[in-house]
Amino acid sequence: MAPRTAFVSYGSNGASWQPLRQTPVPAKCLQNTQAPTKHDFMIHVRRLTKTYQDGDNRPRPAVDGISFDAMPGKVFGLLGPNGAGKTTTLRILGTVLKPTSGTAVVNGFDVVGYPEHVRRQIGFVSVNTAIYDRMTAWEMVYLFGRLNQIDDAVLRTQIDWLFGRLQMTDMRDTLCSRMSTGMKQKVSIARALIHDPPVLVFDEATSGLDVLAARELYRTVEDMKNRGKCVVYSSHIMSEVERLCDSIAIMLEGRIVATGTCEELRDQWHQKNLEDVFYSIVDQAGQQQLAGHGAEST
């Protein structure tokens, strides 16, 4: 089987994205992929599980056998309350954590077998991923551009274009410690976009942002979607997920309890909005749990 191109870098000529470099996928990466990849899917997750030891040294699953697929040119939403397992799932996709079992494949690369290749496919923006206070915005983005093996001259041009696009030109030489939350988030986004990854992950990205800054982020997400990226958007704010996402998975206590588009979920649960859908799901889960406990006691 001939190696296929799995990673295409795009630069800018000021008007549109142009290919910078094409990295052929090593044949062994494809041979050793643990799960069969489908060409249409950018992210393919099957029975992904992550367990931790709790305070009593008992294994507790933070992510419990979830499966989903995310397509290029679409925004996949991961919705759930705090502690549902969203961040853990995204950290696994970002290869910051290793799964206990199951598979996760990002653009043909298995997260366990080829973590460094996976990281080149992903731009990761999270409330947990901070920026270096003692670097300027330009230095921060330049560093991560060089870590992604982008040539120096091309990278400088790319940074200038990106800063212009994100309206960051004024703050390029500002130390990150002197920036507002919104400005820092822009730097994080620029850092994630500089190597033009095919997959973008936003984990609670609007946390701490004001309305205007959040709207800027929404525009960026929509822009990336229109450019054919696969965007995974995680949030506990129903309204923004409803606004941005083409398909949604609702997580509760480490499991996916509902998937589908917004319309499908509203129709399925006979609710007007996603928030009411979520309440219905939680109520049902609670009743099922009570029923389960009652059965055990009898």
Partner: protein, 760 residues
Amino acid sequence: MNWLNIRLIFCREILDQLRDRRTLFTVFVMPLMLYPILGVVMLQMANFFQEHPSTIRIIGTDNLPESPALVGDGTIVEGLVHVDAIRLLKLELEPSCDGFLAAMGTDTESQVDYARTRLAEEIREQGIDLLVIVPRLIELNETVLFDGSPEFLLVYDSSNDRSRIAAQRWQIIQSEWHQRLLGEFFRSASEADSDGDDDREESGSTAMVSAIDVARPSAVGTASWARILPLLIMVWCLTGAFYPAIDTCAGEKERGTLETLLSSPASRTDIAIGKLGSVMVFSIATALLNLASMGTTAILLFSQSGFPVVAGLFQGPPPPLAIALVVLATIPASALFGALSLAAAAFARSSKEGQYYLIPLIMVSMPLMVVPMLPAIRLDMGTSLIPVTGLMLLFRSMIEGNWGQALAFAGPVLIVCVACSTIAIRWVVYQFNREEILFCPSERFAIGSIIRQMFRMRDVGPSVGHALLCTVMILILRFVCGVLVSPPGDWDQFAIQTIVLLMVTICVPALLMAVILSNKPLQMLKLSRFRLRHAIGAVLLACCLNPIFMWFSGMVMRLYPVDENLAQIATGLSGIIDGAPSLLALLAVLAFAPALFEEIAFRGFILSGLRAMTRPVVAVVLASLAFGAAHGVIQQSIIAFFVGAVLGFIAIRSNSIFPCILFHATHNGLAVIFSRWEKFGLAGTEWLVESKLDGGWGIATAPAVGLTLMAALILVICFGPPRPVAESRDGVAGRQGMATRIAQTLVAWFPGLQSANRSA
């Protein structure tokens, strides 16, 4: 490794640290300011202190001879001390000492009491710092001078600084005057000689020459610098590495930027090496700047007249070669301490927690830094294998100009340095992969929760914490009992003491913990069924490995010779052991009992606990370290470590400690028998056993080689990976199975062979 990524991370870390005010102050500003300020303060303090003269009362000046004169015109005679020092001495003279001596009495205790009372009174009321009594008439008479009684009696208070310094000043004067007195005596004796020949005059001065120092002043200075410079370099490299390491590891975790870096394409190894490079740079900068500032200040300071002793010791600034070697020494030192500091910092969950790890790091490093300062320590094969110590001794040899010695041992020193740094960096990479270190906040220590958990989880094996607790308990009990228990007087005492101590200090802690923590203590201690081939293999392996262990033991004794005190104790014990009634009694006490009790603790409880949380190899190494540490004497500890590694391997392969008990008992038994071969040896075994150069007995060379090869075979046959079921049924496959089995064993031990084979 991607060198571009390493360079990027290295540059980033350097830039980040250079923009940190605390780092800039600590590395650059503080050395340039601190030492000159300290120097000025010290000068002022020294001048202030030196301007206080010592007041000395000399009682019994009538007993002093006229020549050589000690006092004149109410002061010390010129020439006995430096002119400037005379003004620091105020004398009060009392002609007769009869009253003092009468009041003092003859009883020693009453003399001390009176002297204490009198001096306290003099200090309080008269401001006297020192009493000097001339108790007897000093004459130029052989009987008087050499009858052994002192010429002066000094009364001073060593807890009082002024009194102590007055005594020191007087002793300098007294020493010089005593030399003059003896010279005067011999001169007068020669004048009284009836020969009248001229060779008394031709023989020149009658001054007594007690010693000739052949060292040139430059060599004296070089020797002094050779001692102090390596120590300073090590200390500054350690302190210069630690805080940047904390900031770049634990600090990044706190600031949340570590997750950002870990989500980049840079591998964990690239990140660790990049950070190490930056820590090294700041460690070297700290060391050199501190050294330069401190050295410059010290040279200026000690050249003042107030510090003639120190100035004489160092004879000016260090030679250029010493400075160049010091700069060179910062590289391996910063690499070693940088790696260790990063290892400690990577384990910490926060900067605050990381700072607490500085103290254990210093506690481990300081003894290793102090050992080279001892006069008897020199660079040899034994010391070159000790981290930090070997490095210091290497550079000391180079500074002193002993290039032959330095080059002979430079290899082992640098190998140890690189090995320790590599292990530390691998630990850092391992920590970067541990999610509980990266993402969990600092834990709270709740003793109630721990105890509840302990009783709730009684059905599982021991944890790492239990294993470490058991190890600490064993070490403490061994230490306490070793101090409290007196040496045995005969064989019976020795036997009872040995067995009881082994039981109480080693076996009982493990047994108690197993009973408390588990519903199945026997299972927890791996007192389970075993295969016959494991048992037989263990005994045979002990016999076959005996020559190697005996050779290794000899090598350890040559590298680290036992000191005289320990050798005397060992000789005494050996005599007691010779009083054993039979070989069986000897083996019971020295072979079976240690085997049983030690295996229950170290391979049963401790190894099981360590295996719960780490790979088998690491668990075996750690359990062997604990086993070695429990032996107390360093030479035994080293040998026990390697024996423990073999025992650990057997325990893991057999999943039972019974084969380990058999191996251990056989190993000890053979050691006992060979140590007393003349008494217990079998006739007709001269081809097998021969006497060794160190006076003991051991396996002859040719059989030893054969036994070593047999040991390899036993490892494969008895302790190789489990056989697939299909192979055991087919006779043909069984013949082929042996080759396959050997191949499987090799692949199991060396996984790299498999991938190399596939790539080929």
